[in-house]
Symmetry: C2
Subunit: 626 residues, 2 copies
């Protein structure tokens, strides 16, 4: 057993090689833990060091990090989660994805802070990790199975109905670039981590352990948990909105009140039929029960089902707001039954609902504009509102059949191939499709998506503060500082591997409250200043990872539609961020970050301040001026 | 019909989109033809403009260029060839591959200077191009077939036993990173063009046409052909060596006389049993008949077969010298029967013999050193000399079965995954395995491989001049200029899409004789100065393509073994190029090229001199200082 000064760690990350079937333990030192916290921070450091930037996401040496932070396995109400990261087949850059699931705690109980999975099995395999032992088990008979059945079969095989299993579906096996990883009904959804596991012929990872995880100051930690539970009751969104409606509550506030819910592939952002897909209607007509991540008192997850209508019988844990946007308003579909059906099928086949829905809406627009025709769509009328097409192509995409083979590539690659000016309306940044938080109605998200490590992600920058009015959504002045603050907050949240809804209690940017949460568990004795440095270190490392793959200021931008076409109607009518305005915000952003304004490369000075001289050296050796 | 001032062109390159099944013709202007000639020059310009550097080789928008030069279809004795280029799945950089085959002429006769193939079919397809017409034909029933049978089935389907067909084998279908394209028995061998076609589900391309190709000055061209035939008789290698023994003649000269034929994965370069695999023995005991590229009087190809022994019945067109090196001396195998068998199987399954053999020798060394064990090799004793293992794993690699799944990745990626310090003896540069021309015994090849666009290729720099004594193989002074000259020559040769053996008559670097060959056909009225500029323009564009994918000076290097371990025995005992010496030559090289000495990026000044201001702008916009 490894003795560490700090708590919340097992002191060991296990490197697992699917080619040689060997494993080796990497020691987590106190210094490393304090510098990188866990989750996001651990993963980006390992991946920066391990991944040759010139290798593809599907290259056999690519690495998938499956990580925990100090909060897993201590019954934290906000940390029933685990963390995955890899080089993404959608963005070619660093990509992480956080998912609900008790498997994070089990990794700790098995004696590890995380896994680094590399190589490639020759045959379908799943991993069974139990305490110190790793088994590479044959998965031929579950290859091709849906994610739910896969988990069931493995639980049965191990003989443990409570076993935690993270699995990919056929989409991952077939290298759909946005395939996800499913644990119970939660998804490490975005950016194609599931496809990278598929390329490694790794069907699933099952973990259980008999150990524990410890906190530095149990009394202070108990006090913090009590504080959290009390505070949570005071914030209406957390106390009422999320428990009652889940994230679908946002349809009314974003879709109706703000008129900022992308619709018809962002030809508009005001969905006339918003009421049909609202949280209120879902609760009233489709709700079955609430569910929750382990130990979470909020229980924002809902099981919905269609009790009547065309999609009667459809049932899903979800859909979340993002899915109502992507499969619903974006595709011009207002029947919650179809969205519930699509949500469950995406989970079962194992692909990201956001990218899938935006991919469909992109093709619908291309079809209606005549850029593609029935010759390309296997004869299907690919028009907005065609819920049959949206549903039918989930399986076709997962199997790469017919036009599903193109849809498996994501909208950027599809636009590059079908041409006809369609890249203008491919709603993506750096290859990742944008979710349901408007880049036109929220200035912070315009800058945020442009600069996010992951591209079109609302978990790098966060829209929540602008919704809450903590930052004026129309402001340009001071917006760069705000966005940086949100990104620092998510970098820390993802390193702790905690739920982002914490932000409503702790602050949308880094605050002393974040420090007060971390110290009792880890014993770091962080100041806010040190924590901010940790966040910047992680973000600069992510950027350095991306810079080595060729990402520069030129890539920090938005789809042309967002830069040139104002929102045409509704409460946010007329809003958008034009290119000069985006450039002003970008100039501010790079100046504050200490990144070169021309290239967007972190300067040597900045990297040195963050204790990343070796990263600067590495860039220089790679012929990149920093 | 497009009227051009210059001859040797049809004035049209056809863009073929496998996703939308649409085609569109791009006009070849006189200016474009004069600036880029054809083949290599055309392809690198199109690919630089078309390929997003951040996308993978297997990304659906990747492009495969299939090109001709002005010499195809005019019965030239040295141009029975065609040219392919793409972004390589081995090197991630620009990669071209020239193959023998009458299909080059047929492309001209069909009315095109070449094809640009992009997108991805949902189902296995082959292309049938006849005059102005393109058919996308179903290939389900030939998917999985070997390359020979594939060509036969398509010929039968079209009802034309003389139809020219370029096809991939199962290796290409299964994305073996060094899968090739086979036309008759010739291979566009290196760098994985076949895998890119496989990723596009394109099994084959069949072309025939009823047109012609014209030359500018028929009389002068006739005179040149006569001059060529007369000259060819005066050069012993061309007049006697190649016609009699083919390239296996080199086993005696390189292997025995020079002691510079990599053996046992370059643990030595003197293969004690060289005589067993020599051209003389092959001719005496294994020769069946001579064959030739269309219209070539040299007929360097041989059909060899094993008349007795363990591999009795094995028959192949080939093996060439490179294959005798890779499947033979590198693997410690001295039975030509095994090499013939391996050669034919690699052709049939559709993979590059050089990379495959070096991949096997790499694993043999890793196995003997205990870095991998029987646990990793499906129980096979992977020792040097095990010809059964070498043969058996061709099919396993093509199908990605067992350790074949790792072997399909090439030695660099394999080394990264198996670790144990094995990258030191992965005999590759930039991901491409080095062929049978010593980087230790030939100083020009040390610098040449290091700087070659393709990495470990002997068709960017050329060893021939050093063998012939035209450049002192031990010299360091002046070597950079020599290597640049050879690279300029191959850039022009590959743009003309001509055989490299021309160099023995026209000069190992660019000379007036090259000019005299080109002008009668094209009517360009080139001077040697202008031709040299064309060569530099093409080479700078190749470098710019690679620079955008992250290639820099750091990548211009050799395997550690070559930089640190002298040849241990034989006539070249003690020779190698250490790192300081390589760096001296690199400094000279970049200075002469006008590339930045720190990064290896072409300077803006140099690019402007080459008429590539737009390329400099493109690099700058990408955040790359030039």
């Amino acid at each position: 057993m490894i003795m560490m000064k700090y708590s919340g760690y097992k002191g060991k990350v296990l490197a697992i090689n699917l080619t040689t079937k060997k494993t080796s333990a990497l020691e987590v030192t106190d210094e490393f833990a304090r510098k990188y916290i866990g989750g996001n921070g651990f993963a980006v450091r390992y991946l920066f060091d391990m991944i040759d930037p010139r290798m593809d996401a599907f290259d056999v040496p690519n690495v998938v990090a499956m990580m925990t932070g100090p909060f897993q396995g201590i019954n934290s109400p906000t940390a029933g989660k685990y963390y995955m990261a890899t080089k993404s087949p959608l963005t070619n850059g660093y990509f992480d994805s956080v998912s609900g699931g008790f498997i994070g705690a089990q990794i700790k109980y098995a004696g590890y802070d995380g896994f680094l999975i590399t190589g490639k099995s020759d045959k379908p395999t799943y991993l069974f990790v139990e305490d110190g032992k790793v088994e590479f088990r044959p998965a031929e008979k579950i290859w091709g199975k849906l994610t739910g059945e896969t988990q069931e079969i493995i639980k049965e095989e191990v003989g443990d109905p409570n076993l935690c299993v993270s699995a990919i579906g056929p989409a991952g096996e077939n290298l759909v670039r946005y395939a996800c990883v499913i644990t119970e009904y939660r998804a490490a959804g975005r950016g194609g981590v599931g496809a990278v596991l598929g390329s490694k012929k790794l069907k699933a990872i099952a973990v259980r352990g008999s150990g524990t995880n410890e906190v530095a100051d149990p009394e202070a930690y108990e006090a913090w948990m009590q504080w959290y539970k009390d505070e949570a009751k005071k914030v209406p969104g957390i106390a009422v909105g999320l428990p009652t409606y889940g994230t679908p509550a946002l349809v009314a506030s974003i879709g109706k009140m703000l008129g900022a819910m992308g619709s018809y592939n962002h030809q508009t952002e005001f969905f006339q039929n918003w009421e049909n897909i609202s949280g209120e209607r879902l609760k009233k007509e489709f709700w079955d029960k609430d569910t929750a991540c382990p130990a979470c008192p909020i229980a924002c997850s809902k099981v919905f089902s269609a009790k009547s209508g065309k999609w009667k019988g459809a049932i899903s844990e979800g859909p979340e707001y993002e899915t109502i946007y992507s499969l619903g308003s974006m595709c011009g579909i207002d029947d919650p039954g179809a969205i519930i059906k699509g949500d469950s099928l995406c989970d079962e086949w194992g692909m990201d609902t956001v990218t899938y829905g935006v991919m469909v809406s992109f093709l619908m627009e291309a079809y209606e504009k005549g850029i593609i025709t029935k010759d390309n769509t296997d004869g299907v009328e690919f028009k907005f509102g065609n819920d049959d097409a949206m549903i039918a192509h989930i399986e076709k995409t997962a199997k790469r059949e017919g036009i599903g083979n193109l849809m498996a590539e994501g909208s950027l690659r599809a636009a590059r191939v079908i041409g006809g000016g369609s890249e203008r309306f491919a709603i993506q940044v750096k290859g990742l499709e944008i979710p349901g938080h408007s880049a036109r109605a929220l200035r912070g998200m315009a800058l945020g998506y442009s600069t996010a490590t992951r591209g079109g992600s609302h978990h790098d920058p966060r829209p929540t503060g602008e919704y809450a009015g903590a930052s004026d959504r129309k402001a340009v002045e001071g917006k760069a500082a705000w966005v940086i603050g949100t990104q620092q907050m998510t970098a820390i949240g993802d390193s702790l591997v905690n739920c982002h809804f914490l932000e409503r209690l702790l602050g949308f940017t880094l605050t002393q409250k974040w420090v007060d949460m971390i110290n009792p568990v880890t014993g770091f004795g962080y100041t806010l200043e040190e924590l901010t440095t940790v966040a910047e270190r992680i973000l600069d490392l992510e950027r350095a990872f991306n810079v080595r793959t060729g990402i520069r200021r030129k890539d920090d931008t938005l789809p042309r539609r967002f830069l040139e076409e104002p929102i045409p109607e509704g409460p946010s009518q007329g809003m958008y961020t034009d290119e000069p305005t985006l450039n002003r915000m970008l100039d501010d952003f790079y100046a504050l970050k200490g990144w070169d304004p021309k290239t967007g490369i972190p300067t040597r000075e900045k990297l040195a301040q963050m204790g990343l001289e070796d990263v600067a050296d590495c860039l220089t050796k790679s012929g990149i001026s920093c």
